[in-house]
Symmetry: C2
Subunit: 414 residues, 2 copies
């Protein structure tokens, strides 16, 4: 058995110890982890400095270096996020539905942990702790495979988490870090049938595509968001301008930021020049079709731009003939993440919500609200853009499955 | 684009017409299908006769010939099952949860169809109609790939279903039959990314394994059931005998029938001889370990027997040291379908339910109850033995996904 599969087997062996742990026990583990993080600043920051030295030597971009950087403030935030999990309801044990059947059998569908959750992610070391915390609170063991750029930081963080688990008499192997960060270790995780109950790739489209193509274990895809805002002819222009700027520029690097603006031809002449000024003031570069070039001063868009998650202060702009055209554009180019319409026309809003196929459809608000925290679900492990099992923000509940419990008194089937 | 992918694309193009159809419209389609089946007996039976002729020529076993056979009575049953779907609640449009967020956004999680469901199945032609009916009621288009032995029957049935859809002004391509029945067509379905939203293999372990290994589209595994009955030392022997015989012999060909009997050593001396008599009276052949050979007159079990879904009047019997031993045996050999304990000991029952990892855990009742109809969910498309998306009987609800609808009045994120 390879080293990666041995790690998965260790996590699988540890998982039952947590699956039956009480909420109180799991919360004690989370508190111990947060305390260990608070005490471990020196150790973590030293490890992070090694990663940052290597990143500078390798010429990593300043943006990626920033994502990799840990500071006392950021560590404080990471520990705080773990403590926040203590306050969330435990999904395990929830009776989803139940009834007494005509033959007297008592049937309950009960929420239980999945078992072992594997996660492949890039960049930010905080994911190591966030993912471990979410897995633990939902009763699951986890196998974490971060990127090579963060290996020292991740190793230090995982070590502290594992020590904290042991300090409350839980097996350290509930949280396992895969130390091998080459491509082969991802492939091994995708083939760990019987050892991994859910594999979550969290990263760029390339990583996700590679995982899905190889996967023989169940996968939930997260994070790719080519989100659109459609400004209808019946839009309130002031609301539309505020929503477009917020959806694009409030935090352009995240998956629920907008990448393309679609504007109804009937409002484009007045709306586009105005929103273009707002966007430029926010530092956003525009590319677009001929109309957008004329009305918004956009540079010509390349065909690939309509399918690109810029993740940056860049927006593609297109003028559409109407609602049908907007819906067709979204169906052709969207990633089924979050799609927004700005309109005061009730019929247009209803059609958009019914006909656009996405995890979230939004009327008269920013795409940026698709988020476990904003939706009131607490922390999330990612935004699922697939339809099976979980769609949209994946919180604690989405990290569980169910089991039917059937209790009888000797019933047999006739 | 290959013929199989063209079929998938046709289904995908048709799907939105159904996704937005009212329950009344879908129910009218189901009524039209049932009526078409009633009118089409001659056509269907003639097609079925061709399949049966070929089956006899190919030397298909009598059991498989029986599964392939349609009769007026069986066709009446198939049409009746379609009419039963009319009476079931439509899952589409159900608001799963919802709230008004602190910023005034109105959030609802609404149940919507998956889109296109592909199904690969063996043997019985009734699955063609059952699967189409379940897909339609849940708002999905479907792509059906049956076995070559049933191709004429399936073609006749699918033709009648498609005609019925057109008669109520719905696209025929909501129900597509893949006419190519070689292995390659299954592989193409597993690769139809973007065209197939859910692929359900329904058949033997070989088919399911082949699908899972190749799949790049989301899959739910169904149907493999290596189910156990554990008779505890605290079992009521009369209940235990009735449950064991029912679980094994009431209908041995189905996935929720028991394949292995585990008996606590403390009760084996008295229980095994008695249950062996009952089982022999029911026509059941026994294989087992040394104790079972001595106490139940079982033939020696081969190692593979503990992992075999006999699907027949054959049962493997083993004496275990106690509850831990039984749970360990089930963890090593079970397929996470249905596992039963017979005991009057509350502690043993609770531990069994908590520690056995299966779609259904049963106390003091037959394994045969794990079934959509018995659970009160109505018709089912199969029993999922995986943990993601659906676990246990897959009814209409499990053939849907959800979408978040967010309605605001200009909200942006701060």
């Amino acid at each position: 058995m390879s080293a990666v599969l041995q790690v998965c087997a260790a996590a699988k062996a540890a998982a039952p110890h947590l699956a039956r742990a009480s909420t109180r026990r799991k919360d004690a583990a989370l508190e111990a982890i947060a305390a260990a993080l608070d005490r471990g600043h020196d150790e973590i920051l030293a490890a992070n400095a090694r990663d940052l030295d290597a990143a500078r030597e390798d010429g990593l971009s300043p943006a990626l270096q920033d994502r990799l950087t840990l500071t006392p403030e950021r560590l404080h935030g990471i520990a705080g996020a773990v403590r926040d999990l203590v306050r969330l309801a435990d999904p395990v044990g929830e009776v989803v539905r139940g009834s007494t059947l005509p033959n007297g059998l008592e049937l309950r569908q009960v929420r239980v942990p999945l078992g072992v959750i594997a996660m492949v992610y890039e960049g930010r070391p905080n994911v190591t702790v966030d993912a471990a915390g979410l897995a633990l609170k939902s009763g699951n063991a986890c196998v974490l495979r971060g990127s090579s750029t963060a290996i020292h930081s991740n190793t230090a963080l995982a070590g502290l988490v594992r020590g904290a688990l042991e300090s409350v008499d839980l097996p350290a192997d509930l949280v396992c870090l895969v130390s091998d960060t080459d491509r082969g270790s991802v492939k091994e995780l995708t083939r760990a049938r019987g050892l991994v109950d859910l594999l979550i790739p969290r990263g760029g489209a390339g990583l996700i595509q590679a995982v899905v193509q190889d996967a023989q274990v169940p996968v939930v895809e997260t994070g790719v968001g080519n989100c659109h805002v459609y400004v209808d002819v019946a839009a309130d222009p002031a609301k539309a301008r505020a929503i477009v700027v917020n959806a694009k520029a409030q935090r352009p690097s995240v998956c629920n930021a907008a990448e393309t603006l679609l504007v109804h031809a009937g409002i484009a002449e007045s709306f586009l020049p105005a929103v273009a000024r707002d966007l430029r003031d926010a530092g956003v570069e525009l590319v677009g079709d001929a109309q957008a070039q004329r009305l918004a001063g956009a540079e010509p868009a390349a065909p690939a731009d309509w399918d690109t998650e810029f993740g940056d202060f860049k927006l593609a702009v297109r003028v559409v003939d109407g609602l049908d055209d907007a819906i067709a554009h979204i169906a052709a180019h969207g990633t089924m993440h979050t799609e927004a319409i700005v309109t005061e026309d009730r019929g247009a809003a209803r059609r958009f919500c019914a006909e656009v196929d996405a995890a979230a459809v939004v009327v008269n608000a920013s795409t940026r609200f698709t988020d476990g925290g904003e939706f009131g679900f607490g922390a999330e492990i990612g935004i699922s853009t697939q339809k099976l099992h979980a769609r949209g923000p994946m919180g604690l509940r989405e990290l569980t499955t169910t089991k039917y419990v059937v209790e009888g008194d000797g019933q047999v089937r006739g």
